[in-house]
């Protein structure tokens, strides 16, 4: 679609490139609606059909205080006292009330409008998410960027020494690093850096620039924990690229090995690498469950863990919804980045 229009009307300049892209983005965003509906349906089935609200009330209240009145009160407080998906007794005018005065509409469909309701402790989930996105990003973004850089550098180093003993041991090191549990990196890192060496505080968080001392260790651990898998993956991408004809041409011209790697291989290999990682970028908002809970960082990841441990279903539902939205945005960003990186790919 993109390429044909561009050929048909060359005089339109930049907008020919932009208009089909916009149409494509809009269409893709519309595709997202049924997917999000499906996500809501799945969470709805999980949370309300597999277990009725009565079951949840019974579990939350505990065995001792279960009386029919207590269950009714619990349900009414949280708005679970309506019918699940079809309200036959609704007094609405045009039949829509049959659908709107239900648990499904009030708890699941309202999330499309950014209304996530209240957590069990009475706080508004949407504002809580706004507050907690900052600390999450403060960890996730540096980890992501540094992790990408370090992994690419390490992979390039391995490729430079390819088919030697150094390469072999480097790959073995990567596999060994992949085989270590993520929990080990966190627990071991905290112990070594914070407890034995006393370089940084073990956990905690502060606002402003003082936050840096709390961020150094989690970011460092995050980079190390992801290094093995990504460096090995980038290495295979580089090795695939290095057998191409243009690399042979560059060598034939007399370019040095370093020049071949940096000027030719790296640039071309960045296309699959970047398009591969673009999908991850939106989900950085979600934060990291483990890192945040171990380091006591008040981000979205620790929010999710707390909600899971407290069995706060409203928060879990909201996080599922946000996660899905971000995932779909990631897919869209991937497709767009393909067209930007490689002119042969057209959006259809």
């Amino acid at each position: 679609m993109c390429s044909t229009t561009a050929n048909a009307s060359p005089s339109w300049g930049g907008s020919v490139y932009f208009a089909p892209m916009l149409a494509y983005i809009i269409r893709r965003l519309l595709y997202a609606v049924p997917i999000l509906l499906g996500v809501n349906l799945i969470t709805f089935v999980l949370f309300f059909v597999v277990n009725s609200p009565d079951d949840m009330a019974r579990m939350q209240l505990g065995i001792k205080r279960v009386t029919p009145e207590a269950i009714q009160k619990w349900k009414a407080e949280r708005g679970y006292d309506q019918p699940l998906i079809w309200n036959a007794t609704a007094a609405g005018s045009a039949g829509m009330a049959h659908l709107t005065e239900t648990v499904f509409f009030n708890k699941s469909m309202r999330m499309f409008a950014g209304d996530f309701g209240r957590a069990d402790d009475g706080r508004d989930i949407a504002s809580e998410i706004k507050h907690r996105a900052g600390p999450s990003l403060a960890i996730a973004v540096p980890t992501f960027i540094l992790g990408l850089g370090v992994a690419i550098a390490f992979a390039l180093l391995l490729v430079f020494f390819r088919a030697t003993r150094a390469d072999f041991f480097g790959v073995v090191l990567c596999v060994a690093m992949m085989s270590v549990s993520g929990l080990f990196y966190i627990i071991g890192g905290q112990w070594l850096v914070a407890k034995v060496w006393h370089w940084v505080p073990i956990s905690g968080y502060a606002t402003g620039f003082t936050a840096a001392k709390f961020l150094v260790l989690p970011v460092f651990i995050g980079v190390i924990a992801g290094l093995g898998a990504s460096a090995r993956w980038y290495r295979t991408i580089f090795l695939e690229e290095i057998t191409r004809d243009y690399v042979r041409t560059a060598r034939a011209k007399g370019a040095s090995e370093a020049a071949v790697l940096f000027r030719h291989v790296l640039r071309n290999a960045m296309i699959p690498i970047l398009t591969g990682v673009v999908a991850v970028i939106p989900t950085l908002f979600m934060g990291s469950l483990l890192t945040e809970s171990f380091f006591g960082i008040p981000g979205l990841g620790s929010y999710t863990i707390e909600a899971i441990n407290a069995q706060d279903f409203a928060v879990v539902r909201a996080m599922v919804f946000i996660g899905s939205v971000l995932y779909i945005l990631g897919l869209l960003a991937t497709d767009i980045s393909y067209t930007l990186a490689d002119p042969r790919v057209s959006l259809k």
Binding site: L36, G38, F47, N51, S181, V320, S324
Partner: protein
Amino acid sequence: MMSLPFQVVVLWSDALFFGLVTAVVMLGMWARRQAPLRHSWARVASDKVAMVSATVLAAFLFVGVLDSLHYRARLDAAPGQAVAQKINYAVEVNSLLDVLLAPLRLHPEKTYSAPLATHLFSKEPLPGSIERGFPRLTWGGAHLGYALEHRTIDIVQRSALGAAGGLLLWLGLMSVMRLRFKRQGQAIESAQKPGAGEATMSQGGRAINALLAVADGDAARKSSRRVASHATLLTLLVLFLIMGVTMALGSGYHVLGTDKVGQDVLYLSLKSIRTGLLIGTLTTLVMLPVAVLLGILAGYLGGWVDDVIQYAYTTLNSIPGVLLIAAAVLMMQVVIDTHPDWFVTSAERADARLLALCLILGMTSWTGLARLLRGETLKLRELEFVQAARAFGVSHFAIMQRHILPNLMHIVLIALVMDFSGLVLAEAVLSYVGVGVDPATISFGTMINAARMELARDPMVWWSLAAAFTFMFILVLAANLLTDAVRDAFDPRTAA
């Protein structure tokens, strides 16, 4: 009335686990008859690293199988009763591994004790004295009596004895294998003409060669590749030595110390193996049929079927994995809690939760494989042999079964072995988050979770975490290394 002194208990997970092992064995026998598969496996078998990993994995599998043979002991009749009219069985479900490790299981200490220690780790009021000190362990080093200065000598003696035992066992196994496969060995020998003048190692090596050669049929003989049997034998030797030393020391000490409630850490680590293996294998058992069926259907039929299946996996994929699992596990927990009458023993309840976890992990992880298979089927569908089959009027089902599926098997195999290590690691994380296995189930995750604050203690307690992480690391590393070899051998792009 005569009856067994125990009642065999087959938990659901045991049945599925053994079913899976049988299925793998049968698949292996089928693969023996397929020339290309035989060739690929011979390639794996010639890789030293792969054979070491496979041997280590086999040892883990052996522990897992021992731990999957469950029974309930018969309770002795009460003294007043003449003859028990009704035979009662203990509520506790034990496995064969529990019997073998009975010395470890039945001798708990009061609380923490360091590896090979003779005293508790924390000071407590000593009996018959007002002072506080480190009390003696009730079992660890109890045989020393008051001659504590002999502890080092005792440990060295026991280690040496154990190592000697392990060595003897290994030599015994080798000579049995040598006798058993002497004839095949000679046949191979004449075909392969190995270098002369090698010691026992080589003879044992030949025995393994013969064993594998029989399994591989002609492939090992015809291809110039030799099975990396020395690597296997050396690994076996190391495993036997470790086993011997551990057993010798374990009869008098807590080799890896005890945890907060005084349980032996070595026992916990060995019990965790079964949980890890089950999660790594049963999940793929759940996932496999769904992924293969939907992937092939979507790729082959196209049209609205493709649309529906793609919609299904995009939707499932878009939910963050941990959250979907957490949500499903929380819900399952409510179901289990509200129906306590479904389960006779607590072991059955823990087992149900383990299976449900596998089911949930399977239902959330089939999407990746299905997408891969769909893409590959799209390519295969346009190839000449499929087109020809269609022109001959072969039914869609037959084409999918006969022409598409066999050509996807390498992807399925690679995906299976790749998923295993990821799942073992995921179990630890999920148990930490609180949505993993039942807290009563011994697993690496529950061990780590229980020990998470121990490094912060002063002086710190490191052995629980170290044991859990080391066992998990070895298991996952072996799986990862084997995966690499399998992928190299089966991936058409890298297979020579």
